[in-house]
């Protein structure tokens, strides 16, 4: 059984790995292999041909951010269980940023959908936004809400409350 953990920060990768290990122990799972990845591209390379039981995704990452990875991997594996790992401040900073965006909600959704379609198919168009996180930030949208609307199974908050995080993860481990 494989669990993939994706985070660009070694520290947080170590923390979420420990959470997964504790969750597996709690469920009596002894054959769990945890694969660590440093960003979305690394994850998509390593997960190719595999069917992990669970994936954890950091949101802010270089090369390929967590929202883009979510959208792309959900397209490749519709049945995947994917937990987003998010800093508590993410939504707050974004809400403050959104106060000067004058695009209405319907238009924002439409513009975001264009980017999501491109990312799903793996298309990169020069001169356009090719990152879901960048699109969300540019439109002043809530990244966690977008994650939920695009297939995130759940959200785990950083800094980790280990007990809460383990409880959340055990719900998604078979």
């Amino acid at each position: 059984m494989e669990v993939f953990c994706v985070d660009d920060t070694e520290f947080h990768l170590g923390k979420i790995t420990k959470v997964i290990e504790q969750a597996c122990a709690a469920k009596g799972i002894s054959d769990c292999e945890i694969v660590q990845c440093c960003d979305g591209k690394d994850f998509l390379n390593k997960v190719s041909g595999k069917l992990p039981v669970l994936v954890t995704l950091d949101i802010n990452m270089p090369n390929m951010d967590g929202l883009s990875t979510l959208v792309r991997y959900r397209h490749l594996n519709p049945a995947a269980k994917i937990l987003m790992v998010s800093s508590e401040n993410e939504a707050v900073v974004q809400r403050l940023a959104s106060e000067h965006h004058k695009v209405d909600e319907k238009k924002k959704q439409m513009l975001l959908s264009s980017v999501i379609s491109r990312v799903k198919s793996g298309e990169v168009v020069p001169g356009k936004i090719n990152s879901v996180l960048e699109a969300v930030a540019s439109l002043g949208m809530d990244p966690l809400k977008v994650a939920r609307e695009n297939g995130a199974s759940d959200i785990v908050k950083k800094p980790f409350d280990v007990e809460k995080a383990v409880f959340t993860v055990t719900r998604y481990l078979k």
């Binding site: 660009d8 920060t9 070694e10 520290f11 947080h12 802010n60 270089p62 401040n89 900073v93 974004q94 403050l96 940023a97 106060e99 000067h100 965006h101 004058k102 695009v103 238009k107 513009l111 975001l112 264009s114 980017v115 001169g127 356009k128 936004i129 960048e134 699109a135 930030a137 540019s138 439109l139």
Partner: protein, 155 residues
């Protein structure tokens, strides 16, 4: 926290490089140059990594500050596609002061790993001033930067 951890962080923290990069960002943002996005994204990643490093090395005081600093820088990086100018140039003084603060706090911690910042009055006042500056920037972004409606062709 150990002295070795702070020493490691000091070796990792290149203040001169970061100052030069902020000056490039100031230039790029005030003149709305094309390279603004690349410069700001790279800086955001550097600060994000520094923050992560302080977490790994368990330097809590710096980690807490760098969270605030990253949020302030996030105002620029998250809005880079609609940010076309700078209304108050002193906003860059804030970012440079933040780097001064990181240097001064890390040197103080190197001398005394158990340092309680409240006992060092001048440094504490500086710490508070910069933290308040970070929050002010996040809460009142429109006062510091010129934003326009997003270019829909980017999507």
């Amino acid at each position: 926290m150990e002295k070795g951890s702070v020493e490691e962080f000091i070796g990792y923290f290149d203040k001169n490089d970061l100052e030069n990069r902020f000056l490039q960002i100031e230039n790029a943002l005030t003149q709305n140059k094309e390279e603004k996005k690349e410069l700001v994204t790279a800086m955001f990643r550097t600060i994000h990594s520094l923050k992560g490093t302080t977490a790994i090395l368990k330097i809590e005081l710096l980690n807490k500050f760098l969270h605030q600093y990253e949020d302030a820088l996030g105002v620029i990086s998250k809005n880079i596609n609609s940010l076309v100018g700078v209304k108050k140039l002193e906003v860059f003084d804030f970012f440079l002061q933040g780097l001064d603060l990181v240097e001064r706090v890390s040197l103080a911690l190197f001398e005394d790993q158990e340092m309680v910042i409240k006992n060092n009055k001048e440094l504490f006042n500086f710490y508070i001033k910069v933290i308040v500056g970070a929050r002010e920037l996040v809460m009142h972004q429109d006062q510091y930067f010129e934003f326009v409606d997003i270019d829909e062709d980017l999507f």
